[in-house]
Symmetry: C2
Subunit: 319 residues, 2 copies
């Protein structure tokens, strides 16, 4: 266990969930952007707070631990820690410098929840497994979106590409992947997760589902075989993307332009509005970025782009 | 190219299609049972037949090449051969000793089609790829079931576990797998493929489809990681099996008994009536067989069982 009052620094990466055909099951972490956090244990003072959240960014997110995603995640962790390991009560102080813009669709809330529980686990001497940490962090996602989901939490904590095979009971499988360059564009529009959920159809055609699971099997095999062509051919979503992409201006044209520039493929990150593309080479990822900038400049829409790679480590504690 | 009139022997394995969650995409070949075939090239006599089928088994299958699955597959091959490689016309003589009972659900028709085209390709000096051969053999499946499908043809020709990622255009991916023992029971009832198709719903719930593709991703990852537990947990079908299993007496009880005996999991082979179970150890596969015999003996239903392994080679030519 770390000494009281000793600060640690944490890097919590952005993540891409709903990896094309892998809606609700496949996601990955990226090296940029990421949130910076600082965290320490402090002695608990009777009737005092167990969790103190200090935002050192521009977003004015709630600091009430019940309403803050990191707070909700830490609450779940502390509850189990006190039950299992300790009779003494501990308090955490957390400073959050959010560099991943909330609402951008690249796991901003997941980064805070995951960063907080990985940091707490480190400070406590690592009593919990990664699976436990995902479970705790999902409470943060519930605060953020109303639904306990692990789509972003899993890759944020495990790093790399992750498969959430099952949510109840939770089962996360780390998938090996070859080097992949990731280009992300965040058009500065708002897509509410609730809207992105509500426009989905509850039923899908069996023939489309079969096509989708052929692509999912192909994508997993392609990643594990390091077969870039197979990855590219499998990056096709016939179920979710055709419905959700209408919420994102320029989506279809962007995808065509990026693939023409050499991208293997890509799609909506999470529930949008960010769009990601995967490339085999860095030069291609840069050419893809140029296409993204060109398109959204042409549409007169403010936007941010990132050219990055898959983050293999997940949340990092820097002592 | 082989000399005229020289006979070759062919072993064409049985196959399991619709591998639990992998409906229409995942299948594998087994070492037992298999069809035996003999084949030779003979000079074409003007106005004579290009394909001569001789059945040396008990099943009285049609010998008219248009109506025989091996004949239809060979017709497709010959047509392309003549177009691409030759101006001279060749004829084939094929003797089929069918040891895989037609209608049992373990790829009896696929074995004949696949065996014939692999044999012909060998005799012609291997002008065609395995993908070409699958394409030709699918014409046999059309004769057998009215639908060109590669579910059984792909594993029969490639061996091992195969993924048919896409049918148009055809794309087959060989998946590595760990050693797996396979127990198959064929209850002697008739399940018409057309009935098994017609009871399927055209629409499925999105939440079920997501569960299914989580399992498919888990199964592919489990096979490639040689993770038996993951394979076992992923062998779950929430879409097709609940509908089709009502056509097979004793299905639910059998599955429970086999898993209790140690099977990793399993399900309906093809469109049934055969049921297959996968096990890590041979002893388990034998214990599973005992459960199958016990159950169908108890139900007073005639049945055959096989205890075998995954066939890694596919159709074999024995010169």
């Amino acid at each position: 266990m770390a000494p009281m009052n000793q600060w640690i620094k944490i890097k919590a990466p952005a993540t891409v969930a709903n990896m094309v055909c892998g809606f609700d099951i496949l996601g990955f972490a990226v090296n940029s952007p990421y949130d910076e956090m600082e965290m320490r244990m402090v002695p608990y003072v009777e009737n005092g707070p167990k969790i103190i959240i200090i935002n050192i960014d521009q977003y004015n997110l709630p600091t009430d631990p019940e309403k803050n995603v990191a707070g909700a995640a830490l609450n779940a962790l502390l509850l189990e820690y006190e039950e299992q390991f300790s009779n003494t009560t501990i308090a955490f102080e957390v400073k959050i410098n959010k560099l991943i813009k909330p609402g951008s669709g690249v796991g901003s809330s997941a980064a805070s929840s995951a960063g907080a529980v990985v940091g707490a686990n480190y400070l406590l001497g690592k009593p919990f497994t990664n699976d436990d940490l995902v479970r705790f962090a999902m409470n943060g996602e519930k605060v953020a979106s109303g639904v306990k989901h692990a789509d972003n939490i899993a890759p944020c904590i495990f790093g790399g590409v992750t498969l959430v095979r099952s949510i109840f009971p939770l089962e996360i499988i780390a998938l090996p992947s070859p080097e992949l360059h990731v280009t992300i564009v965040h058009p500065q529009i708002e897509v509410k997760t609730s809207d992105a959920r509500s426009i989905l159809k509850h039923q899908v055609l069996l023939k489309d589902a079969i096509k989708q699971w052929g692509n999912i099997a192909g994508l997993v095999a392609g990643l594990m075989k390091k077969d870039y062509d197979l990855i590219g051919r499998s990056l096709e979503d016939v179920i979710i993307e055709p419905v959700r992409s209408i919420l994102i201006p320029g989506f279809d044209a962007l995808k065509i332009a990026c693939k023409k520039a050499g991208a293997l493929g890509g799609g909506i990150s999470g529930s949008g509005p960010s769009i990601f593309m995967l490339s085999k080479e860095k030069e291609t990822a840069l050419a893809v970025e140029a296409e993204m900038i060109k398109l959204y400049t042409g549409l007169g829409l403010a936007h941010h782009t990132y050219v990055t790679t898959i983050n293999e480590k997940g949340v990092e504690v820097i002592n």
